[in-house]
């Protein structure tokens, strides 16, 4: 199992800070979008796309590539920032987010954006699609893995639990799910809108291997991802405890930053914070 040195961690943190800048910048230019959930998953995506997943931007349709489905599609600015940085498409695409004729839609579109594996946006649908991808990998006899990122608010959708049963029934141990547990949804705290607790117990009761991790701790994320891949006979749910808006102090844990773009002053303030090294 790969282990991160201090130098590795420093490098990843610097990468993630740069991608946070990209997220803030593209949302500022778009004038709308979802910063909170993008900032809460970016560290997960960085670990997956730079340290774990087998993907090749020069051969984006390679049948043997690992797949990632962003079920919480509204957090796509984070995915776009990563895909651009990995070279799936030119960085200038980011400037066109949410604008007419753009390859970068407000929610992910697999037909328009290289590297996007599944169109999502209507919540609750990604895990079913990921199950289908994992079943296909098994039919192909391929070792490729499927990753999926769900939101906590999203987990109020019934289809998530239908799919949870399907994954455990078919023993999809080639599937790793992340739950971005940032605690907030559009109308407020998840525990106040409609509580999911006990969340880990629910996934265990649905037949999953459940791991929990600090979703902003790179070494731990890498470690649990490895443990998930090693688990046989069960799909794995990694509950990632995250902070919505992570890295920009005035966005952190603020429900208002679920779906609002920064204005000029906020944009400058956010970038200054990130340039100063971000918050730990």
């Amino acid at each position: 199992m790969p282990v991160l040195s201090k130098a590795d961690i420093k490098e990843i943190k610097s990468k993630a800070t740069g991608l946070r800048r990209d997220i803030i910048t593209m949302l500022y230019r778009a004038g709308s979008g979802h910063p909170g959930g993008s900032l809460s998953i970016i560290d997960i995506l960085v670990v997956l796309y730079y340290k774990v997943m087998n993907v090749d931007p020069r051969n984006p349709r390679d049948p043997e590539r690992d797949r990632l489905v962003l079920s919480k599609g509204h957090a796509c600015p984070a995915l776009y920032a990563v895909l651009a940085d990995r070279g799936f498409f030119p960085a200038h695409y980011l400037d066109s987010l949410r604008k007419i004729d753009s390859p970068l839609q407000g929610h992910p579109d697999m037909r328009k954006t290289p590297g996007v594996e599944m169109s999502t946006g209507s919540l609750g649908q990604g895990l079913s699609a990921a199950n289908g991808m994992a079943l296909a990998a098994r039919l192909d006899g391929s070792p490729r893995r499927t990753y999926v990122i769900l939101g906590d608010g999203e987990s109020q959708e019934g289809q998530v639990w239908e799919a949870a049963l399907t994954a455990s029934h078919y023993r999809l141990d080639n599937l790793t799910a992340f739950l971005d547990s940032n605690g907030l949804q559009i109308d407020g705290w998840v525990r106040e809108v409609k509580s999911l607790e006990p969340l880990a117990d629910k996934w265990r009761a649905f037949g999953w291997n459940v791991l929990e991790v600090d979703g902003h701790d790179y070494a731990s994320l890498l470690e649990v991802t490895g443990r998930a891949s090693a688990c046989k006979g069960l799909p794995t749910m990694i509950i990632a405890h995250t902070v919505k808006g992570k890295g920009v102090s005035f966005m952190e844990n603020q429900v208002d930053w679920h779906g609002k773009a920064p204005g000029q002053n906020e944009y400058e303030k956010a970038l200054a914070e990130l340039d100063a090294g971000g918050r730990d």
Partner: protein, 315 residues
């Protein structure tokens, strides 16, 4: 006299034969495999069959995922669940993504019978045909269902196939090729054109024979593909006859009748009289009694034919 065959039975057998020839064919069901007849495929190809239990939304999403990886999924349930309950999944995970998923929906229309209104989809054609990228096919008999399954598998993209529960007579001559989007003239006529789909093709032929006795020469078109609609043939028949009757086991809103009226109002306006369920839910009963009560018999088509001719005279 050809043997009567339910289109769902033909589907089950066609799927099995297809599965024997193509290893990329996979089949999904939501706990109705004995009724949808996918159980035949499941028995021979257990590894390529996925029963997701009673969860149609999940079935559609899982099919989409399989399609992203080069498989050709046929996902089956009753029409009311496949098109209705899983509508958002069909829209976002299959139609919007243009994924190569075939939805084969059985137990469509009022001929579901005794199960009643909760199980009788009278709106699925409307729901499916409004979706961009979606092909909508309603085979008229068992033989045509075989051809449709083959055609759908060979076509790259989403297809909705509407199938029925009861046995239906053979209405399409055996040597007739099936071409997607190309309707079939089953009976030539000059006074009016009856445009029918699925279960209603047989009553349409009967109705035309009745009308002939009154000296009315009615053509019968099997409009097996509702989308894309065969505009060329439709306009040709409208021009030739000047009056159209549509016949479907579906609501008169948004289905075949709606599609035909939309087309002709722009291309060649003639009176269009729609035979179908008149904006109401069904109920329990035998298929025969229901067809009679809800106005879906050859007799109702004869009446509609007369009305259409009257309207033609007034225009």
């Amino acid at each position: 006299m050809t043997e009567k065959v339910a289109t769902r039975d033909a589907y089950g057998r066609a799927l099995l034969e297809l599965g024997r020839r193509q290893d990329k064919i996979v089949v999904l069901d939501a706990d109705l495999s004995k009724s949808t007849k996918t159980a035949l495929f499941a028995e021979e190809f257990p590894l390529r069959f996925f029963n997701v239990g009673v969860s149609e939304a999940d079935m559609i999403g899982t099919a989409a995922g399989l399609a992203t990886s080069g498989y050709i999924p046929f996902a089956s349930s009753f029409g009311v669940f496949a098109a209705g309950r899983a509508y958002d999944q069909v829209r976002n995970s299959i139609a919007y993504t243009r994924l190569n998923v075939k939805i084969a929906a059985t137990h469509s229309g009022i001929t579901v019978g005794e199960d009643g209104a909760s199980h009788q989809t009278l709106e699925d054609i409307a729901l499916m045909r409004v979706l961009p990228n979606m092909i909508v096919i309603v085979p008229a008999d068992g033989g045509q269902t075989y051809q449709v399954v083959e055609t759908a598998a060979a076509y790259e993209g989403p297809v909705y196939i509407r199938l029925g529960r009861p046995k239906v007579p053979g209405v399409v001559p055996h040597d007739t090729p099936f071409i997607l989007g190309r309707a079939q003239v089953l009976r030539e006529g000059t006074d009016l054109a009856i445009v029918a789909a699925g279960y209603m093709v047989a009553p349409a032929l009967e109705g035309a024979a009745e009308l002939q006795k009154e000296g009315i020469n009615a053509a019968v078109i099997n409009m097996h593909t509702i989308k894309p609609l065969d505009v060329e043939l439709l306009v040709h028949m409208a021009r030739k006859t000047g009056a159209v009757v549509t016949a479907e086991e579906h609501s008169i809103i948004g289905g075949l009748g709606g599609a035909v009226a939309e087309c002709l109002s722009e291309e060649y306006p003639v009176p269009v009289v729609k035979v179908g369920v008149k904006d109401t839910f069904g109920e329990s009963g035998s298929p025969e009694k229901l067809l009679h009560k809800y106005g879906l018999t050859a007799g109702h088509l004869v009446e509609a034919g007369r009305t259409a001719l009257q309207k033609k005279g007034q225009m």
